[in-house]
């Protein structure tokens, strides 16, 4: 089997339109979360990280791409076109396109949207992105709840190893909409303050939005400076509940074990965990149980939800990209919002930006439907 790499990348978010700028903001502990008062979304104010539309459209204009695009399409095309430009890979039949999203253009279902309802189809979103950026093959749209972003890296690797593609570009994105916010609000899952993953006083999730893109490749000539090897990956269902994690962390444990098995490293080789950490009572507790079962409770861990909120189908990818920069910069970034442990098992939460030699990190994510995904990444030697 080939070594597969995660390489050139981009993040479009409220913390900036470029991975380096976003990572610098994280280094400086700047959060993209703010109090949003928008009655068109929710009757009461809520915390979220929302991309400034004016900046987004101004940035998009510089790309010179013509078409009538939705807000999410603007985000996705802006993000992915940058990665394609940097990677300098000609788009041909050997180049795949994966789009990961939970809800795509769901905002067009609103009766006041000027776009046709047809745009709500994720396959139509796939076609729009494919045509705007000149891809040759049908997009593979991955819609697997909140693991979609990180699962897409595993899927890209699998298609490359199968010989279907040599290179795969992934773009992930979800937007903050009335649809999503009212849904999470109906679960009483929204926090009325900036989220506090793993903290004693955590009070729920903030939903945010980003678009993130990455090149997954087997070509050692297509590696960016922060490129990493995709060492191993695995997914596992909890087989327990459709809207809550397993109390034993079963699926999460199994997904990490599956990734470890493929990677031929040991649990001791993991220098850092980029966890899911949504700041809901159940999610954080399940993760604590799972990481303890795996003997990973001493490994430095953070949740990046305090910077972006939970960005749904994009969260796994944006957090992977930050993790790659973390390795490149040999720096552990603060798990923003955390001050006192509020889960029943010990975890080594990163409370200060810390310089440390880093080689290998684990990214995990969990989602509705009981899904869990784990991927191990290592510096290119």
């Amino acid at each position: 089997m080939n070594k597969i790499y995660a390489s050139y990348n981009n993040i479009i978010s409220s913390l900036g339109f470029d991975s380096e700028i976003v990572v610098q903001n994280i280094q400086d502990k700047n959060s993209g979360l703010q109090l949003i008062e928008d009655k068109a979304i929710l009757s009461q104010p809520f915390y979220s990280s929302i991309i400034n539309s004016k900046d987004l459209y101004a940035n998009f204009k510089t790309l010179g791409i013509e078409g009538d695009f939705t807000r999410l399409e603007h985000m996705m095309i802006s993000s992915l076109s940058k990665v394609i430009g940097e990677a300098k890979i000609p788009i041909n039949n050997r180049v795949g396109l994966i789009i990961s999203t939970t809800k795509g253009n769901v905002d067009v279902l609103d009766k006041n949207s000027r776009f046709s309802k047809e745009r709500a189809y994720l396959s139509v979103l796939g076609r729009v992105i494919k045509e705007a950026l000149g891809f040759k093959k049908e997009a593979i749209v991955v819609s697997n709840a909140c693991v979609s972003g990180v699962l897409s890296i595993a899927i890209a690797k699998r298609y490359i190893n199968q010989g279907v593609y040599d290179n795969v570009f992934i773009v992930s994105g979800d937007i903050v909409t009335e649809f999503i916010i009212t849904g999470f609000n109906s679960f009483q899952a929204l926090s009325n303050e900036p989220c506090k993953p793993y903290d004693k006083n955590r009070s729920g999730v903030n939903i945010g939005e980003v678009a993130a893109s990455i090149l997954v490749t087997k070509d050692t000539n297509a590696l960016s400076k922060e490129a990493v090897v995709v060492l191993g990956e695995g997914s596992s269902n909890d087989a327990n509940h459709i809207s809550g994690p397993s109390r034993t962390g079963e699926g999460l444990c199994r997904s990490v074990k599956s990734a470890i098995k493929e990677s031929n490293i040991t649990f001791n080789d993991i220098d850092y965990i980029s966890a899911h950490g949504t700041a809901t009572l159940f999610n954080d507790e399940t993760e604590a149980i799972a990481f303890n079962r795996l003997g990973l409770n001493k490994v430095p861990l953070n949740s990046l939800k305090g910077y972006f909120g939970h960005t749904l189908g994009a969260s796994g990818l944006v957090e992977t990209i930050v993790g790659m920069h973390s390795l490149q910069n040999n720096t552990l970034y603060t798990s923003l919002g955390f001050s006192e442990l509020g889960v029943s098992k010990p975890l080594n939460i990163i409370t200060e930006t810390t310089s440390r030699k880093l080689d290998t990190f684990l990214k995990t994510a969990s989602g509705f439907g009981g899904c869990n995904t784990a991927v191990l990444f290592q510096k290119v030697k």
Binding site: L109, T182, G251
Partner: protein
């Protein structure tokens, strides 16, 4: 790497009919809408699983098609059964998305509900099947314009050849609120139909 894989069994649900390996095992001549059809079919199979009634249309369709195939496998839920689930469709969870949208569209008639919202993700149906059969396995839900045999074939081959799954339940489960179609097949080391793109397309078109 060179292990041969086969399509062990396959199930289709469309046009008020359910078939297993090409034989019709249930049909209803009455003109029923999808939800009435699937409920009547469920009752005819004498499956005792009350959770079925809480599911949305897509999950009911995926659940019943899976049930036709997996109930024959005599799965012992006390043991490890590494059957991955790889589904695809065109409309994602659009039928339920529209229901949630209706519940928030009018501020004077505002009733968002977690019981509806949870089904606004297509992979929830995979969760339902995983719960029924205690499958702690690999999952993925893909969205395509139309049935894409090649992407499913290669993904399934990847899961099997890397030992991430022993068998794979895969296929197409589409429900847009009115029209429905399920075509699921179980890929295994056992069976007689070769697991190839040509065979998958042939079975899908029967």
């Amino acid at each position: 790497m060179n292990t041969k894989y086969y399509i062990k069994s396959f199930c289709q649900i469309k046009d008020n009919k359910i078939s297993l390996n090409k034989s019709v095992i249930y049909k209803n001549e009455d003109t029923l809408d999808f939800l009435d059809f699937i409920k009547t079919a469920y009752r005819s199979f004498e499956i005792n699983y009350p959770k079925f009634f809480k599911m949305d249309g897509l999950s009911k369709l995926a659940f019943l098609a899976s049930e036709v195939l997996l109930s024959r496998e005599k799965i012992n839920t006390e043991e490890e059964n590494n059957i991955a689930i790889v589904f695809s469709n065109k409309s994602s969870s659009l039928d339920t998305d529209k229901k949630h949208q209706e519940s928030i569209q009018d501020k004077d008639n505002y009733y968002p509900s977690p019981a509806v919202f949870v089904y606004t993700l297509p992979n929830i149906c995979i969760g339902e099947i995983s719960i029924k059969y205690k499958l702690h396995s690999e999952n993925s839900f893909f969205i395509f314009d139309s049935f894409n045999a090649e992407y499913l074939l290669e993904y399934t081959k990847s899961l099997l050849s890397t030992n991430k799954a022993k068998e794979v339940l895969c296929g197409w489960v589409e429900f847009n609120g009115i029209e429905y179609e399920a075509f699921l097949y179980l890929v295994s080391k056992e069976g007689t139909i070769a697991h190839t793109k040509q065979e998958i397309i042939k079975l899908y078109n029967t």
